[in-house]
Amino acid sequence: MNFGIIVFPGSNCDHDCFYVIKDVLKQPVRYIWHKETGLDNIDCIIIPGGFSYGDYLRCGAIAKFSPIMASVIDFANRGGIVIGICNGFQILLEVGLLPGAMHRNTGLHFICKYINILTENRDTVFTDICAKDQVLKIPIAHNEGNYYIDERSLRELEDNKRIVFRYCDADGDVSQRSNPNGAVSNIAGIINKRGNVLGMMPHPERSSEGELGSSDGLLIFKSILKACKGLK
């Protein structure tokens, strides 16, 4: 299957995603510059982490207006698979493909470290090969990962199993103690209603090889691969 990685001038995890898809997953992949609009022959779009346009105003705020995002929205609305990681998640929120908003971590600091997330919904194209309630060891690296959503919408997310990942401890316990950034209900990743768009703060591309300390992130990319093959 063909992966496309969106490149904004301030993207800085684009190379890392590219490497995992091409050299670890051994799948065709290409970069897509933010001023382009074409997404021909792409099966899955990755919006990588970074600082899109510097993010001086608000994370992802300016990326929303880039030419490529209009195409991505269109792609998603046609059922194409989209995964937004970190800044990519923030952009998906800004463009409205996913609900809610991000604000600063409660500690008011950038946090880069390995954390654990609980796979709450394995019935998605992104988590299909994860075990039930599997705990993934995976790093975060962000300043604004404090996910906010109003209560009514939160209930909607909960009721429809749209919360895919929650921050937890090594044993899978979800609590305030295991919440690194203050996110509502420990939310680390959510999907849209249709189930084809995932936004997550942790970085699966940083934990896709054992020598980096964990290969749990690869489960997400492999799930996508499996789902796509199944579709065809």
Binding site: L57, R58, K64, H103, T106, G107, L108, N146, Y148
Partner: protein, 83 residues
């Protein structure tokens, strides 16, 4: 020429950890009268136009489209002529 000052703050219902931190700092400096601190952004724009009504309309659009995120932020603005 008009100058607009756009103030963007977190909505009252949204926690503001930066504001809270500053409130604690002020309290520890014995400014006990401080009951609330909210942090925001100030954006100053110079507009090459003189019609204030039209300017307000366009500023509203700018705020909604880009400057503020309506899910978590409120905005207000002031408008004044400049030379």
């Amino acid at each position: 020429m008009l100058e607009a000052k756009v103030y963007i703050t977190l909505k009252k219902t949204v926690a503001d950890p930066q504001g809270l931190t500053i409130k604690h700092a002020l309290e520890s400096l014995e400014y006990k009268e401080v009951k609330q601190v909210r942090i925001g952004k100030l954006v100053i724009l110079q507009l090459d136009m003189n019609d204030e009504e039209e300017a307000k309309k366009r500023l509203d659009q700018m705020c909604q489209k880009l400057l503020a995120n309506s899910i978590i932020e409120d905005y207000t603005f002031e408008l004044a002529p400049v030379n």
